[in-house]
Symmetry: D2
Subunit: 338 residues, 4 copies
């Protein structure tokens, strides 16, 4: 299927009817001409609920790929299914939206990148942060030269709490699971590639995470090929909630992207002047980003606009995650791409 | 028509296909079971555009009232049509959502209040600010006793620019057109009624407004029956945009409701540390409020929940607007309800 | 004594060794060439403590006025002594710094203004807020045209708690005791004079204040001769501390003067993102203002620079306080100067 | 000389009459009983100016050490003189306040630490940041357990512009010259010692700095013996001024220390809502810290209170600076104390 005019009919199959699948489905269904035709999930109940909401059918994987009318797939199933569904979508000439990561194995992710390139389909990775209004406005002002040449990036990225250890065991580790987004932010904001990576970390919130071979707090430093510096600090647990900030120091000033709050109430008491804590977690914090992301995917598919978060971007972020994990494990600076 | 279960079918007629009509229509159409059946507007093109968007029909006033299947009317037409459409809706037993003001004439507004009371229909006035997340959260915390007894309210309410003088001539004056919202905020937040009102003002932005017999900046003070104090300052033109703030001083602290910004970017330059100006105007600032308001109307109609912004509230705000206008014209303190 | 060169010797007598007397004495003593020679206070212990700190002598009133070497008097004694000390200072040709108010009786204050004018001495009233770095910077930017023509002023002025009722009984009432500063801010910032004043108020914190014939919360509105608007809200008790803010709306923007905080610590907890409450009270909030004020007095005396807060300013503020008190008592709008 | 009672006489010799020497001299002279007796500087004009201001004499080094009445030395001369003056002060039994660093050579700094320990004199290093009201309040709240166990520290430390290259050539490099303060903050806030250090950096503002063998932007990561993480980002040039912030993530929340602004004016224009840029540079930013620091030194000397910033602290910070410089030069992680 080739890209066409806005508002043209687009039939879609959604893989994965979990939390993020439901959000993507709703955002995509809102685009003109889009019809959710199939919902595929091993959890039949979840699939039925989502299908019912959008007048879609619950289906199997083969149904979706066997139906030539399906123009695009939305892949929100578990990580270990991503690459296969990407490969099959590409083979069937269907446009692809896939949640991060492409795959936990870089080799497999490269095969996906090659496959979608050969197939000539639109393929977009769900790095939703690039579509966040605050982050996108900052990037636009940076590109417009407001602070001169960017020189340093400091990223703060903290979750409100660690996921269950069972999840962590299959997550690919904190660098691939959590920092993958921060590595993408780094590449996007500094518009540069890593030369060296240093990562260290600790397990501070729950010993079970250490027992699972992982850490829950990291400190990463990247020096780029052009000599720019980036520091990323992350934690699985910030008691005050979801903390998503970054700041770029440029030769002529600084741009900061702050957290969003649910309300703008300020409370003055005997002891403090207090505002709301940040939006609770990614579903709230990135609500507008998810909507904008899916509108962008729709535009790419129907109007042929270039995709802003490609499989190649997914691959690059994954390479950084691997380099960081290696740096952490071996306690040394890692040269990227060497 | 009586109220029923959530999700039950509700056919709706929308009067007025202008800016605010389109917003209310979209927000109502999103509720489960709601169908926009008729769009009525003297501007046929606007009516057709809105109808097309929601699969509704363009119709005449009599079509709407003659169709027994219509359960509710949404009145967003020009102010001089409000009271007649309310009266006819009440007579036809249809639930009513009506934009503010009920009518520019208090007597006529009272007739409307009586009519909806007699008819027993749900009747809701579009004081959307009460549904704003920030304002609603503040009210909830106030009611929970967070700052003790409320004692003083300071309201800042400024538009980004004056409307055309032609509009102002038919607006009923700044107190009925613009401060009507602030008078409602006053009653809602302090949970009290005015004892005396003092208002003064000036025409500072455009002499044509003075020639039309109106002013563009006001300073209003209300003392309540319980001795609480309220000051409202308004301006038709704030160069920096739409400014919607208030603060409540209580015996144990203060709660402030601040503006919302489009993004959380902070720019550090040689000369300043700068944030975004506030959301541009009411459509942006109260986007969430409009959505929440229509969900509330839908709940009231389908689940029988009491309406929070009644025709009586509209009447009270109108009385305050009249008292303020009188105070301004005669340069004296006005006793309310005397 | 005539004004002379910076650094020249200036011998000073300080009347009143209380809290504010000690601050003024220390700030003045810091100026080059200044010597505190006499401290006069009915409280001999306080006088001795202050005198000891600065190598001064405890003296009686006549000692100070009889000593021709005394170039300036600093009057920080109780309000009922101000006018006499001003008159005697003027008669003796001594420069005068006097705390507000000049006198509680306007007639007496006028006599003071006349006397200092005839004597040709430097006479400065302690409206320290004009010397506050934040307020002064705002005024300078306003005068430089940053927000165009000023149109509206909103002043928030709240104390952390009411003084003892005994104090209130002799204070001249809230308008002369507390709002006198706000009336001066109004004249200074808008650079305009009042045409009409409306004031209302309540006693909300302590019934004993009402029994003493006073109120503890006020809402004042001033319309200026040029049609500009000013609203002042005050309270004797703000549970969160000393609240000193104002904002000026101009034709091209707005300037706000905010509170100062003891530290810039921000605490992120499970429930809020919290900053410090404002500086505790006037001694902390206006520390820099007091220092700058006395440096200004010294400059005026030794270099002949014009005084920025004159007895005439004190008189004008007093007239506004009287007009406001009249408006409050009679429940009507008062024409100023009529 | 042994420590004694508050207010007792203390004669002082000040070495170095430059910018910081003048500040320390003025702050120390303000303490009760303190007399500046000698000012020593190779720049005779500067020495004379400072001496005149405090009624001191210009003297030579030997004069100061030969005068048994001198109880304390304040060492603000160039870095290469610090260690010798410390050694001579210790030998002469005089208490010592010395600006950072102790010496650029660790061996020499160790000799100083040993010498003051043997001599039993009070010896304090000028890490003024610990005395900053914001930083000190944060530390106190941290120690009180407000955010549980500290886990991560992020330090932002940026100057408004690079010093002359001539200065840089003799500065010992950015890690010893600029980050020495940040290394002290790290040890103080996390109350822990470094296990490993990684540092990287670039020369981004001026190639002449690179030619001098130095860099102007760094990114340092420290992992502590207890597994806590610290990231420090620095730059010689922040176009918006002097930027001194840090934040501590703890198990139960976060504490941030923000910049201070000259005023609390907020300007609302068509394009932004803007506050002041931070205080210009260290003299303004740390004005209160310098005053508090010298009061602390005076207390230590006269009341025998333990010094909070010891020569040992200076030594530890220097070791971190050396480790960081090694890490940067060799592109590897450095084990501290190994």
């Amino acid at each position: 299927m080739t890209s066409g005019a806005a508002g043209q009919a687009l039939d879609v199959a959604v893989f994965g009817a979990g939390r993020i699948g439901r959000i993507h489905a709703a955002n995509l269904a809102r685009q003109p001409g889009v019809r959710l035709k199939y919902v595929i999930d091993v959890n039949r109940e979840a699939a039925q609920a989502l299908a019912a909401q959008h007048g879609a059918q619950v289906a199997g994987i083969d149904d979706a790929f066997g139906d030539a009318s399906i123009g695009a797939t939305v892949i929100c199933s578990s990580t270990d299914t991503h690459s296969e569904l990407i490969m099959r979508s590409a083979a069937a000439g269907k446009h692809i939206f896939c949640e991060k990561p492409v795959d936990l194995a870089i080799g497999r992710a490269r095969e996906c990148a090659d496959a979608v390139a050969r197939a000539g389909v639109v393929a977009m990775i769900g790095f939703q942060r690039r579509y966040d209004p605050t982050f996108a406005a900052l990037k636009q002002r940076l590109d417009a030269g407001e602070i001169g040449t960017p020189e340093m990036l400091v990223v703060t990225s903290r979750d409100p709490g660690a996921p269950p250890v069972e999840y962590i065991k299959h997550s690919g580790g904190i660098f691939k699971d959590m920092l993958i987004h921060d590595f993408d932010i780094f590449r996007w904001i500094l518009d540069d590639e890593a030369d060296t990576v240093h990562a260290t970390g600790s397990c501070l919130s729950d010993p079970a995470i250490a027992e699972a071979g992982d850490i829950d707090a990291t400190a990463v430093t990247i020096r780029t090929k052009r000599g720019r510096l980036c520091q990323i600090n992350t934690a699985r647990r910030a008691a005050y909630g979801y903390d998503q900030r970054f700041e770029v120091l440029g030769s002529a000033g600084m741009l900061q992207a702050g957290n969003m709050r649910p309300t703008e109430v300020v409370a003055w008491s005997k002891t403090s002047v207090a505002q709301d804590v940040p939006e609770a977690f990614f579903l709230e914090r990135y609500r507008a980003a998810y909507a904008s992301e899916m509108a962008h995917f729709h535009e790419a598919v129907t109007q042929g606009k270039p995709v802003r978060t490609t499989v190649a971007d997914g691959l690059k972020a994954l390479e950084l995650a691997e380099a960081a994990a290696l740096s952490w494990r071996e306690g040394r600076v890692v040269k990227v791409g060497a």
